[in-house]
């Protein structure tokens, strides 16, 4: 999409669309009246030296400007598009080389970037993949019940399943990695609630543990950050492996969000007001721009903080609870899954299935045969 690809509708601009002729005209009755009462152009109306005048804004100086919104774009959507600068990646690579980064490091970044792009492409093209919740990873120990789960993948399933899907997370996967021995069986998303309860229990335990092991809050929040990053990276790796199967996944954030959700649930009672800890902010920012920036930061920070992380895991988790409780964290939809809408979900579903059966490659995919 180039600069010229935006709107093609043309509009003739009138002679004086803002009627500045009227504004400039100093002979109008209104202007005469105001001047006679001591008003000068550029001044606010209202009491002289009013105590509350510090609250006056541009809207008190001139009428409010509006712009016509004739599309369905969400708040901040177009801006973010504009923010995307092409070619900056290569430049930043160059800079990092100049800054003395090793070739391998740069290469790693390039790969990570490609991955993100690929992920976005796949998601836009075929829609996201959904997963059901497995157990819960708490700190270091795996709480793993009968409910371990794996991808119940159906990247183009009927639309009515969308909502349930987005909730699913990769956190389970990272957990799984650690636990290393999980059976893959499908599960319905209804189990979410169970899991959340479990999580709560675990959190409680952790909080108790926290009381015992008091660590400097700064340090702990740092380490928490690092831990987050680690988790994320794990996710990413997981993702990569996924992609090999040419399947798509939900955004990497979701697991983090899911976790947050659970955390919040457990601790919202104790912690009221929205306190915005630095760590959570940063974390969010990272999430938002899933571009190379993130990867860069992640990696760098990780390197830097590896030492911190070597603290016990217990304070980490507890500080996570403390710092995140009450703060706002995204749990919902993830980013737009660009699907066509809701028009004919059923017929499309059928058509897709039919198409899949005609296609040998797709069949392999469905039966997970590596051909």
């Amino acid at each position: 999409m180039g600069l010229l690809a935006e709107s093609k509708s043309r509009k003739r601009i009138q002679n004086d669309p803002n009627n500045t002729r009227w504004t400039r005209d100093t002979t109008t009755f209104g202007q005469k009246m105001l001047r006679s009462q001591g008003w000068e152009p550029g001044q606010f109306l209202g009491a002289k030296n009013a105590a509350h005048s510090e609250y006056h804004t541009a809207a008190n100086a001139s009428y409010i400007r509006v712009s016509l919104k004739d599309d369905m774009k969400g708040l901040g959507y177009s801006k973010s598009k504009e923010d995307e600068v092409t070619g900056l990646d290569v430049f930043s690579d160059l800079l990092s080389r100049l800054n003395g980064k090793s070739e391998a490091e740069v290469e790693e970044k390039v790969q990570a970037r490609l991955q993100v792009k690929m992920h976005q492409y796949v998601e836009q093209k075929w829609g996201p993949m959904r997963f059901v919740r497995g157990g819960l990873l708490v700190g270091d120990n795996m709480q793993e019940e009968d409910d371990s789960s794996d991808d119940s993948e159906s990247s183009t399933a009927a639309d009515d399943k969308i909502p349930a899907a987005t909730k699913e997370s990769k956190k389970e996967k990272s957990k799984k990695r650690k636990a290393a021995s999980l059976k893959d069986d499908d599960e319905l998303s209804a189990d979410d609630e169970d899991d959340e309860k479990k999580k709560k229990k675990q959190r409680k335990e952790e909080r108790r543990a926290k009381k015992l092991a008091k660590s400097g809050s700064n340090e702990s929040s740092d380490s928490e950050k690092a831990k987050k990053k680690k988790e994320k990276k794990e996710k990413k790796e997981k993702k990569k492996s996924k992609k090999d199967k040419a399947l798509t996944e939900e955004e990497g954030d979701e697991d983090a969000m899911e976790l947050d959700n659970a955390l919040n649930n457990s601790s919202s009672a104790s912690n009221g007001g929205p306190e915005k800890s630095k760590s959570s902010k940063k974390e969010k920012k990272d999430k938002k721009d899933k571009k190379e920036k993130k990867d860069k930061k992640d990696k760098d920070k990780k390197k830097r903080k590896k030492s911190d992380t070597s603290d016990t895991e217990m304070p980490d988790a507890s500080s996570a609870v403390a710092s995140r409780s009450g703060t706002a964290t995204p749990v919902t939809t993830g980013t737009s899954t660009p699907r066509g809408g809701f028009v004919t979900p059923r017929s499309r579903f059928i058509a897709q299935k039919r198409a899949a059966f005609m296609d040998a490659q797709a069949l392999n995919q469905i039966f997970m045969v590596k051909a």
Binding site: Q14, D16, N19, W22, T23, T28, F29, G30, M33, Q37, G38, F44, L45, A47, A51, H52, N60, A61, S62, Y63, V66, L68, K69, D70, M72, K73, G74, L75, G76, Y77, D159, D160, K161, I162, P163, A164, T166, K167, S189, M257, S268, A269, G272, K284, K285, K287, K288, G326, A328, T329, P330, T332, T333, G334, T335, S336, T337, P338, F342, P345
Partner: protein, 608 residues
Amino acid sequence: MSVAQRVADEMDVTLGEEVGYSIRFEDKTTPKTMLKYMTDGMLLREAMHDHEMSRYSCIILDEAHERTLATDILMALLKQIAERRPDLKIIIMSATLDAQKFQKYFNDAPLLAVPGRTHPVEIFYTPEPERDYVEAAIRTVLQIHASEPEGDILLFLTGEDEIEDACRKIALEAEELTREMDAGPLAIYPLYGTLPPHQQQRIFDKAPGPLRKGGQPGRKCIVSTNIAETSLTIDGIVYVVDPGFSKQKIYNPRIRVESLLVSPISKASAQQRAGRAGRTKPGKCFRLYTEKAFKKELIEQTYPEILRSNLANTVLELKKLGVEDLVHFDLMDPPAPETMMRALEELNYLACLDDDGELTTLGGLASEFPLDPALAVMLISSPEFYCSNEILSITSLLSVPQIFVRPASSRKRADEMKALFAHPDGDHLTLLNAYHAYKGQETSDPSSAKQWCHEHFLSYRHLSSADSVRAQLKRIMETHGLDLISTPFEDKNYYTNIRRAMLAGFFMQVAMKESSGKVYRTVKDEQAVLIHPSTVLRTEYDWVLYNEFVLTSKQYIRTCTGIRPEWLLEIAPVYFDMDTLEDGDIKRSLARAAEKKRRKEAMKKASR
């Protein structure tokens, strides 16, 4: 009203005696009344005749955070009065976060914080901006329904069409979800201002129960405009979905257009929306934008009405309230100077203010009517045109919401029905025709009037409220000695008189057709406008007067009536002064009309 009832019950007195209320068309008070509930507008009207508010020893101004025009003016007045009357106690109640601003404004008055009884609400943002906020909203609702525990959903959208559309889509998807995944039933209710009251009431229905015993519990989802943000409280809401937009009315004094456009809400408004989720138990608010967008793109506070409105009426009220110095009137948010100028200018042309800025007799009379100055002036001068009855009806019809109903499901039929009442000369006369038909029906067979309205796609509710507005205005006219007269219907000037009478108030809202095409151009402001598609105007008039100039997707003039240019010179010679008009098509056309008229009169004289 319901509050007054409740308080009267709890005090064990009859409503209307010790405890009374006063709203626009109803005054339920007696000399015995000690406690009076009233709207801000009513108190302002009282203050016009009683500058000291001497009837009251204590005034509580509630919902001050809504910052309506009347509230803002009242606050400024009360601030003044408090200096003169140390005995008067004033309490301002507001749900705002910017209490400091209020406190500063009221000379550092003591501030009492009353903690709310609300539950915590978790806020969620999306990690990325949304491509399509409506679709994202629908998906969020479905996701909540599928995966969140019991609790009702409130979704904020911007307008009627969008809401109805979203309701349809959600219903479709939810049905499938229920059928295929055994989710609980989902009841969906739209909510917007023009919805008939019985449908609005449905939002208070209980959420549906599980389909069968032991099944997933049902829930309800309300899709609303921002009227659910403040004006109305629905219990049981646990989830709020907020795309971050609302339709806002904004007035542009330069081109005198009122726009009703979708724009981002304010932070305060977003918090208010989120707060709706925590009324019965801890809730969740899903914002369909990023936290960055929340911080960077939303303004702090919603603009108060005084910054968004045409102030002609306000200035007239202020004059009547005895405010001389408009420039230094101590409002919490002083309006833009240009808006004030435009208002003064309009009032001057309407002869409500003389050239020194003093209220004229006409202006004083106009302020007695709870109407826009243009409408009031039109009404007051209508006896001169022998049609005050008809103008009275038209005025009341213009003061209520659109009486023609046009449901999306049967647009064609509705248009056919409207065509029955259509008058070739314009929309005002069409309104009048419909009203006369309604009155005829009502007198001949009152019981079937409602049914008749339904059949003819007319809003019974709005027609009957127009009726009561008419009765109220009629009383005011009678007390001020304005005659109620009509030209006989058989007279060929019946409709001409009405059209001319309307010009007496609306001569500043006139547009002339450009030589090419359908585009009209407003006089003096030179704005290109289109006649709104809802018009019945068939005859190609070169000159039209319009009731409102709105900016939606295009610049439209709505409710138009055809006029003749020579009338303009006759009825509003000051506004259409040939010496000061800009050169151009409009001036040429007017000059031609004047010339033609002069010749005609000369011929008449000669033939006599």
